[in-house]
Subunit: 249 residues, 2 copies
DNA sequence: CGACTAAATGCATGAGTTTGCAATATTTCT
DNA sequence: AGAAATATTGCAAACTCATGCATTTAGTCG
């Protein structure tokens, strides 16, 4: 096996698992640990990975938290975020509503991804401003101070002029019969707009909100394309959702 | 599990919970408390956390990249902020540009004041969202990540539809002959708009920037109404400014 | 194709890291 | 003050690393 092949293999492992161990690579690739160490050193100099005692870590520190968290307790929101991040493709235009789940998503978008993100949430914008290659467009308007999001007619106007590939929507409540609902009238209106201008709408929904119904209607269940929750998509609770054609992730 | 992974995990926990306990980490990560203590000590030396008896506390470093700069000459900016806050009257519509000086102002606006503030700076908006009676309108647009302000045509458009009583403008450079100047073309354009729509324009200017000239022209010195610096208004350096009719505060 | 060269590899050795444990000291809380 | 929890220190075992050197391999040139 050629050196470059090994390097490629190592980088691939890193992409997948975020860390590699010298011993593990040695057995996997049937070369001595010395060789692995030399490989790692070389790749470290090239800044393609981060060498540490015993192995190496992915340069992309953001995703590191994934493995770590999976060890103990991954919060529901983080579980959702990690599922959501897989939907993002390079070059897409994405709308993100304001919600703590979307904030969790913003935190873990790998720095390798390039995209344009529209948002009206201050915390999400701040978070994304640390990302090297994501273009952020902030949707202005009157500030709702408690939620730290902008609302109002300006937001609706701006959104209606967007065309988005993907929409990550925080969810007030969702049910098969009542569709997507929100406790706040203005937010409900804004979300309706978001759905209108997005090719693929994903509802990010922590499990307690499944089957919940809030005061204001957003869209029927057919209006959204997929739902991401912290549960396994095979859970029976999703059967009725699947019958409507919804993708459960 | 590699040491660096543990470190990452610890920092992550801190981000989330603000504090960690040695005992808790020990069980979560299945290593001895000694190891945890060594980890914490190491991270403490690196100033990534603050070690205390029994665990560690987060060093609150949100917005670090931006606020770092405000630490530099905080004194001067606070002096300016305190002078500026006296100009604010109840019920006014105020435009605030993005700058660390304006951030300092946003932090000290007394909660007794009622006003409407337009801004295109994320940190200022976040800061003002803690204020009970100030209505905040955020001006949307493409995000400049390093300055954490929105820029571009949307910002200019929005501003040109405002009528403001008061405008607090951060200052790139100011001189009697060259007027107000900016190092960034887009920002220069935006500030020009701000001046156009504001009845009373105040330039917030730390003393080193007096007499400085940047690349892009904003408005002549007559375009602004007052200048606030960290110096005494009686300093001789202001004589030539006063001759133009400018108020020095 | 074959021979040569530079790179790559594996091994041995000694040095460096990391970790857990035990003994001792310090801090915290009652 | 005294008990309990937490820290520090020194140390040994296990593991990992850097280096030099002999050997093998890949790639090149005639």
């Amino acid at each position: 096996m050629l050196k470059q092949e090994r390097h490629q293999f190592i980088l691939n492992e890193l992409k997948q698992y975020r860390k590699v161990l010298s011993t593990g690579l040695s057995t996997q690739l049937s070369v001595s640990e010395d060789t692995i160490r030399r490989d790692l050193k070389e790749l470290d100099v090239k800044k393609l990975l981060y060498k540490v005692h015993g192995g190496a870590l992915s340069i992309d520190k953001k995703l590191l938290s994934y493995n770590e968290r999976s060890i103990s307790d991954l919060g529901k929101k983080e579980i959702i975020a990690f599922k959501a991040v897989d939907l993002i493709r390079d070059g897409q235009v994405i709308i993100m509503s304001g919600s703590t789940t979307n904030l969790a998503l913003a935190k873990i978008i790998p720095s390798s991804i390039t995209a344009t993100v529209f948002t009206y949430s201050l915390p999400i914008a701040i978070e994304l401003s640390n990302h090297p290659t994501i273009e952020v467009i902030f949707i202005g308007g009157k500030l709702n101070k408690t939620a730290q999001v902008t609302v109002g007619i300006d937001v609706v106007n701006t959104i209606s002029n967007i065309r988005a590939d993907l929409c990550f929507m925080g969810t007030g409540g969702i049910s098969v019969k009542q569709g997507v609902t929100e406790p706040d009238w203005e937010v409900a209106h804004i979300k309706k707009c978001m759905v209108d201008v997005s090719d693929y709408v994903v509802s990010m929904c922590v499990s307690p909100k499944l089957m919940e119904v809030k005061k204001f209607f957003v869209v029927p269940i057919q209006g959204i394309d997929a739902i991401i929750t912290d549960l396994e998509p095979t859970e029976p609770i999703f059967d009725i959702y699947k019958e409507t054609g919804l993708t459960v992730i």
